[in-house]
């Protein structure tokens, strides 16, 4: 039925210009129906129905397990660094080259000059009189074997020699070598980020029979270099609700190749299978069937790097090969090659890419020729060849500028006229019969471009339900696999079904497995994150019991598979299969189970792989325990991958308070004992700030709990638990990986550090000799003492310890005794620049005005305080200013008594306390909202000025509580554990509060600008403190700590202006809240 062309296509505009220059975001096809097309119903009256091009409903497939499972046990592999090399590091590489391959680097000249130098130093066989003695240079050279400190070892002598001979010694001029190396490193970076050589993928599965698609041959590259072509008979075993696995116990064949395998292309015609394998400069074709062993038919060597190989699905033994020269050749195996098309340049515009691709099409003599700019259908029967455009990067296919063709694939199995074209943004289905206009377009939303794909043909409306065709796209660097579904293309136009679905990635599997020890975690993570190199799929289609097994190859040579099942409508009610499985396999879990015990019957026998003794493993390797298994819950609750903002909440808090403490210690400006105590109090205040936060978080808790319950109740239902077989497989896999990597580490130990023998340095010469004697005598003394039942005291020892010569400390300078100005100044300057500066100010009389002002203000305040004491209603006004009315008097050490006076006056407001508590209770709800402000602080900046900012942010968010709720969900998870021990600290801290009857200590740092702008204060902070012990007053304490924070910063003169601003900001920010409360009052 493939010959039918859709009777009606979806309407669209057509223009063949360059792509739209306006860049669009990625999700541009999300959520839209794109177009609809009418279908006249059979009945006469208004039975029109409409179909859209993007249909939201598709088949839903779910994973049987939440991690991919390794198919084979790990082998030795070369794990590429995840980070690409920096091309600027070429000097480092040159250095390595000179050290490691000195004979290649300097061979010629050293041979010539060697006679003139004598490196043997003191040897007698000096064969020339005038040779230069190089003994000391020799020492230097020996040191090259070690990593030495560049600072302490100067290579002056070597430098001189270098100056003398550096321009003659090198075999390759360093400039040339450097530029070449730079180029090579740049290339390597590109290859790592975009490994275009691997396009197409080096993994394939060929079912032996059309009817039985579960049994077949898996083709994959083995060996660390990926140069061992392996044919492995595998079978998919799957039962719905039971265990599923891929059986790899059957025989395998392998062939050693002369280059790493880049692409495997295969096609089967009836019972015969033909396999084309591409490495960079070689292409080979094998043939096999279920009964016949694989047989190499022919190998060709290409002059240029070959970029593509494709085996014909029409005629066995016809292969298309493309190379970077731009030529595509039709290779009829056994008969030779025929050049069918050559293009020097790119097809539609200059993309500066030598990459070429070729595919067969529905017609055996029409082939698709593609490069980064588009694809053409070429009829190779006519000469000169002519092509017509199938696809090009243009506005006809709604491309973006910068979009490039990444992969093209003939979808012969699904529809004989369809081609899949992928770019880094989208995937297109093209119909050969209607070129230029894409039948379908998706945004695949993958992070890195898809470079391999597999198609799972749907069934064209057989029986009741039409199965969709699935397109699996695999990207290399990010290991993503995305499944797209579509239907149609025959009698009806193509329409996409459902939403693109991302499948599991090996690199994310460790999250779902039991925890590993850090260094093992690192090894495993590195191994699992190596880029993907291929993708294939085993399909089981037998009635209702469908399943898909998606296999993915990584460049480390590992293969992972994941099994998908169509979701049943009643899936929620039935028990996940893995859970039952766990019961069934409980005894099996204790037995060692080889993930792949494959007897390899290779053409060239492989070395027996190191057998891991299972007995040693149990204590050696971290495996899953029962405990962990039961603990395993939801695979991806937010708790497991906390977003950075939540991280910062955790991490930022502690250092900050520590920072506060340090600052608090710096505040001390003179030796006033009272102040000293004050700073102690300050630190306790900061801690109380901590607690305050905690209390506040507790206050938010109900919301959190609610939310968490929601989250959990939802997520627990859907995903699946890991079955014990999977866990065991993973356990063994990780065990073997550790064995391999530990072996490797021993071998590749890097050059040791250059060490100096220090034993002799730190030993007293005679001590060593008398040590034993000394100990012996001590023992003797001890014994005698014990027999006498007396204490061993110093006097009793026969050989008393020599008391070390005590160097007498110089006697304490009594600063009080030296009263002249010079000494005062010196004393002040010992206390820091601040004190020194203030001394000078005092001395020069620069602060007389300020003092007078301060005195006047103080008096005014006292008066007002008395007035306010009479008027209770105005009490609340003090909220605004209570924390800020004090002046920053840190310069005036002699005026510090004032503040205590103020606080006394404040104490007279004692009666107002009850009113206050009323107000506070009204404020509770406000406080609750204000508390999560810590969640919002994204940028933990340790500068004091940042904190008020943070606070303000928190306030701003109060208007949108929904955000808070969701963000606080995971946060709550992390807090629960903390809270437990903090609660115990709570009691201790509250006892600390009791000591804070004199809060003036931190008040005294405030600057006086505040006072002029703020309304006259009445109550002081102390009264609030009393209240705070009864009410959850989280933010008040937080406020206090904030204020204190900025104030303490102001001890540094350069902070004065900043801190005053910031504190001003904070007090401003707190105003609206307080006003609100006053209104309520």
């Amino acid at each position: 039925m493939d010959y039918k062309f859709p009777e009606q296509l979806f309407p669209s505009f057509y223009s063949c210009g360059p792509p739209d220059p306006v860049p669009r975001y990625c999700a541009r096809s999300w959520g839209s129906y794109d177009r609809v097309r009418p279908q006249a119903g059979s009945g006469p009256n208004s039975s029109w129905t409409f179909t859209s091009r993007h249909q939201p409903r598709g088949e839903s497939w779910r994973h049987v397990e939440s991690v991919p499972v390794p198919l084979l046990s790990p082998r030795n592999a070369f794990v590429w660094p995840l980070k690409p090399p920096n091309p600027e590091d070429f000097t480092k590489h040159m250095e390595n080259f000179y050290v490691d391959h000195c004979f290649h680097a300097f061979g010629c000249m050293s041979e010539l000059l060697g006679e003139n130098f004598d490196f043997n130093g003191n040897s007698k066989s000096r064969y020339r009189k005038d040779s230069v003695l190089m003994g000391r240079v020799n020492n230097d050279l020996h040191r090259l074997d070690f990593k030495v400190c560049q600072q302490s070892y100067k290579w002056t002598r070597m430098k001189r020699y270098a100056g003398l001979m550096s321009d003659v010694l090198h075999e390759v001029p360093p400039q040339l070598l450097g530029s070449l190396l730079h180029e090579e490193l740049t290339d390597q970076t590109d290859r790592l980020l975009f490994p275009e050589a691997n396009t197409g993928g080096a993994l394939a599965f060929i079912p032996f029979k059309q009817s039985d698609s579960q049994h077949g041959c898996l083709l994959y590259p083995g060996n660390p270099g990926l140069d061992l072509l392996t044919f492995h008979q595998v079978a998919l075993q799957h039962q719905r609700g039971g265990s599923s696995s891929v059986d790899t116990s059957r025989s395998s064949f392998s062939f050693q190749l002369k280059g790493s395998i880049r692409q495997i292309s295969c096609s089967s015609l009836l019972t015969q299978c033909c396999v084309g394998v591409r490495s960079n400069y070689f292409c080979g074709v094998w043939r096999f069937s279920e009964t016949n062993e694989p047989r190499l038919l022919q190998v060709v060597k290409t002059a240029e790097v070959s970029t593509c190989i494709n085996v014909s699905p029409h005629v066995l033994g016809e292969v298309l090969v493309a190379s970077e020269s731009g030529a595509v050749k039709l290779w009829t195996v056994g008969r030779g090659m025929q050049k069918v098309r050559t293009e020097e340049s790119n097809l539609y515009f200059n993309a500066k890419s030598p990459w070429r691709w070729c595919e067969f099409s529905a017609h055996p003599r029409v082939m698709l020729y593609a490069d980064r700019t588009g694809a053409e259908l070429t009829d190779i029967r006519v000469n000169p060849v002519s092509g017509h455009t199938l696809f090009r990067i243009s506005s006809a296919s709604e491309c973006r500028s910068g979009e490039r063709l990444i992969l093209s694939k003939y979808l012969g199995d699904a529809h004989s006229f369809h081609h899949l074209i992928t770019t880094q943004y989208s995937a297109y289905i093209m119909d050969e019969r209607f070129p230029c206009v894409p039948m379908l377009k998706w945004d695949h939303m993958m992070e890195s471009p898809p470079m391999s794909c597999h198609i799972v043909a749907g069934s064209a409306s057989s029986g009741s339900e039409e199965r969709t065709t699935k397109v699996l796209l695999g990207s290399n660097v990010s290991q993503e696999i995305t499944m797209l579904q579509y239907s149609g293309g025959r009698a009806e136009a193509c329409s996409s079904r459902g939403h693109p679905q991302a499948l599991l990635r090996p690199r994310e599997s460790l999250k779902h497995l039991p925890a590993q020890i850090p260094h093992r975690l690192e090894t495993a993570t590195d191994r699992l994150s190596s880029p993907a190199a291929g993708l294939t799929c085993i399909q089981k289609k037998s009635g209702d019991d469908d399943c898909l097994c998606v296999l993915q190859l990584t460049t480390a040579g590992d293969i992972f598979y994941q099994i998908l099942e169509p979701e049943q409508p009643n899936a929620d009610t039935c028990k996940p299969p893995a859970a039952e499985d766990e019961h069934l396999h409980q005894p099996a879990a204790t037995e060692p189970l080889q993930p792949a015990s494959s007897e390899t019957k290779t053409a060239k026998q492989l070395p027996p792989e190191p057998d891991v003794s299972e007995t040693s493993s149990d204590e050696d390797v971290v495996g899953p325990t029962q405990n962990v298994m039961t603990q395993r819950v939801v695979p991806e609750t937010p708790e497991r991958n906390p977003t950075p903002s939540m991280d910062s909440e955790d991490s930022e808090f502690e250092p900050q308070s520590r920072f506060l403490k340090r600052l608090a210690l710096q505040v001390v400006v003179n030796d006033d004992p009272e102040l000293d105590r004050g700073s102690d109090l300050d630190t306790s205040v900061t801690e109380s700030g901590n607690v305050a936060e905690d209390v506040a978080q507790d206050a938010v808790e109900p919301n959190n709990v609610q939310e968490t319950v929601n989250v959990l109740s939802r997520t627990v239902a859907s995903p699946v638990k890991l079955s014990s077989t999977t866990l065991v497989t993973w356990k063994h896999w990780l065990q073997k990986l550790m064995h391999i990597s530990s072996d490797k580490k021993k071998r590749s130990d890097s050059s040791p550090y250059f060490k100096i023998q220090t034993e002799g340095l730190l030993q007293l010469p005679d001590e060593c000799a008398s040590e034993k004697e000394h100990v012996r005598s001590l023992r003797r003394d001890l014994k005698s003492c014990m027999s006498r039942r007396s204490l061993l005291v110093h006097g009793d020892t026969s050989t008393p310890f020599r008391t070390p010569d005590v160097v007498p400390l110089p006697s304490q300078v009594d600063t009080e005794a030296w009263t002249d100005r010079l000494n005062q100044r010196l004393t002040a300057s010992w206390q820091g620049e601040e004190a020194w500066r203030s001394w000078w100010k005092e001395e020069l009389g620069m602060n007389r005005e300020e003092k007078m002002h301060a005195l006047r203000r103080k008096r005014r305040r006292q008066k007002e305080a008395k007035r306010a004491a009479g008027d209770r209603l105005k009490l609340t006004g003090s909220f605004t200013s209570s924390v800020s009315y004090q002046s920053g008097l840190d310069d005036f050490s002699d005026l510090s008594g004032w503040s205590s006076a103020t606080s006394q006056s404040a104490w007279s407001d004692w009666e107002g306390r009850q009113v206050l508590s009323q107000v506070l209770s009204q404020e509770e709800d406000v406080l609750e909202y204000a508390a999560p402000s810590t969640v919002q602080n994204d940028t933990p900046t340790p500068t004091p000025t940042a904190t008020p900012q943070r606070l303000r942010d928190g306030r701003g968010d109060r208007q949108t509580p929904s955000k808070l709720n969701t963000f606080s969900v995971p946060q709550k998870q992390t807090q629960t554990s903390q809270r437990r021990n903090k609660r115990s600290a709570d009691g201790y801290l509250s006892s600390l509060f009791a000591q804070q009857d004199n809060p003036s200590q931190h008040d005294c740092y405030y600057l006086d600008e505040e006072i002029t702008t703020n309304p006259p204060p009445v109550a002081s902070t102390s009264s609030q403190f009393r209240n705070s012990q009864s009410v959850p007053m989280g933010s008040f304490r937080a406020d206090l700590s904030q204020d204190f924070f900025s104030a303490s910063g102001s001890s540094q003169s350069q902070f004065i202006s900043q801190s005053s601003q910031s504190r001003w900001g904070s007090s401003q920010a707190s105003q609206p809240k307080k006003k609100k409360s006053r209104m309520g009052f």
Binding site: Y3, F5, P11, P21, W30, G31, W48, R404, T966
Partner: protein, 426 residues
């Protein structure tokens, strides 16, 4: 300023079609081999505020959830994401709004608990949130209504969108406006059809004025959009259907011809099919029909109608026509999908039989097969094919076996039953 700016904001005109996108350059990638990778929705930038960062992270989470089909989770994240709109320092708010709309409808499409009310809410709100995407959302809204059988509401939506005007229109907006009127006309046509069926006795009564009104309204816009290059299969079908009833054959032919042969239009096989069907309905001459099919043969040699074409050619008395028919059938058999089709092989057999009357028929066949002789045997006449055909369709095997000798007289073919039984035994 922000990554979203760069990603979503209006770029300056791209100076060179050949160049790579800015993203690639900004990454410091000096190598031009590598296409711009990482087309992620959201990228980190060196200078972003905490707010931008949290929206970016939120967007990433939404993307993850959506791609893993965790719709509930996505919906919960989505509840916070609209905060993005409150940001004043993101200039391309339009793009953000569109993205917001796309993600939210996407989630609604798949969320189990989404209701029509939610949809209407989102569509209506987002529609009025910006000028540039107004028409697009209107169109999508009407599609949504159409898919849910609310044709009248959809029509109302479309007509209100049609009357929406906003100053200067961009090219894309203009196209959308045209699409909207075309779809509105399509709905007019649907009503027109209903009315036609309801009183099929006499269309041209005065009672049927409403029906004619609908025709008039529909034809105007449909005619307009058919002038624009594009794929307009549903529109042209309805337009031609209406014209046929009013006997405006001239216009219908003109429209169909234009749709098929205008070079600005994409090479749509359906255009030729519609023309052919129209001509056939109106009893055009065989010559005309063959002319249409000849062009279709060049475009799509594998088309179903090629069977009709070969029958037409066989009916003519011309000698060369039979040779042409042979070529056409052989072309069809080149394609995978026809390889086991009984009709085509039978047709081939008739053609050969007709040819055999001629004198130098063997030369003619050789000439046609010359290009195919190296791969046709492998494509059709191997022992594997013989065994498969025998198993599945013995009649086909008979036809093929009889033709094998004729088509490839010089080669020893293995397409025999004898061989197959041997093969089966081994």
């Amino acid at each position: 300023m922000d990554d979203l700016d760069r990603e979503l904001g209006p770029h300056g005109p791209v100076e060179d079609y050949n160049d790579f996108s800015d993203d690639n350059v900004s990454k410091g990638g000096t190598n031009l081999k590598r296409p711009n990778v990482n087309p992620a929705m959201c990228k980190e930038t060196p200078r972003e505020t905490g707010f931008h960062r949290s929206t970016r992270i939120c967007l990433e989470q939404i993307r993850e959830a959506v791609l893993h089909h965790k719709w509930q989770e996505a919906a919960e994240y989505m509840a916070c994401y609209p905060q993005l709109l409150e940001d004043t320092c993101l200039p391309p708010a339009q793009q953000n709004k569109e993205l917001l709309w796309r993600i939210s409808t996407n989630i609604l499409h798949h969320h189990p608990n989404s209701t029509m009310e939610d949809y209407n809410n989102i569509y209506e709100r987002m529609k009025h949130s910006g000028v540039r995407h107004h028409l697009m959302i209107c169109l999508e809204h009407s599609f949504h209504l159409l898919l849910h059988g609310q044709n009248e509401d959809a029509k109302w939506q479309l007509s209100s969108a049609e009357s929406w005007r906003h100053g200067k229109e961009s090219a894309a907006q203009h196209q959308r406006a045209e699409l909207i009127s075309a779809y509105r006309s399509l709905l007019d046509y649907v009503i027109w059809c209903d009315k036609r069926f309801s009183n099929s006795d006499n269309y041209f009564d005065s009672d049927n004025q409403g029906m004619h009104d609908h025709f008039r309204q529909a034809s105007l816009n449909l005619k307009e959009i058919l002038k624009k290059p594009g794929v307009w299969d549903p529109f042209i079908l309805s337009y031609v259907d209406m014209l046929e009833l009013y006997d405006d054959h001239e216009e219908a032919l003109k429209v169909l011809n234009d749709y098929a042969y205008n070079n600005n239009f994409p090479p749509n096989p359906n255009a030729h099919v519609y023309l052919y069907q129209y001509l056939k309905r109106h009893d055009a001459s065989e010559k005309n029909l063959m002319r249409v099919l000849k062009i279709l043969h060049v475009l799509v040699p594998s088309h179903e109608l090629m069977l009709d074409y070969s029958t037409l050619l066989l009916n003519s008395e011309n000698k060369t026509d039979i040779q042409k028919a042979l070529g056409i059938i052989l072309d069809m058999l080149d394609f995978t999908c026809w390889r086991t089709n009984m009709d085509v092989w039978k047709c081939l057999k008739t053609v050969i039989q007709r040819l055999e009357i001629q004198e130098d028929w063997e030369n003619v066949v050789c000439e046609k097969m010359a290009l195919r002789e190296d791969w046709w045997p492998a494509l059709h006449f191997t022992s594997f094919h013989a065994s498969k055909d025998l198993e599945e369709n013995p009649e086909l095997w008979k036809v093929k076996a009889s033709l094998a000798k004729v088509l490839c007289p010089k080669q020893a073919l293995k397409y025999t039953a004898d061989r197959v039984t041997n093969g089966k035994r081994t």
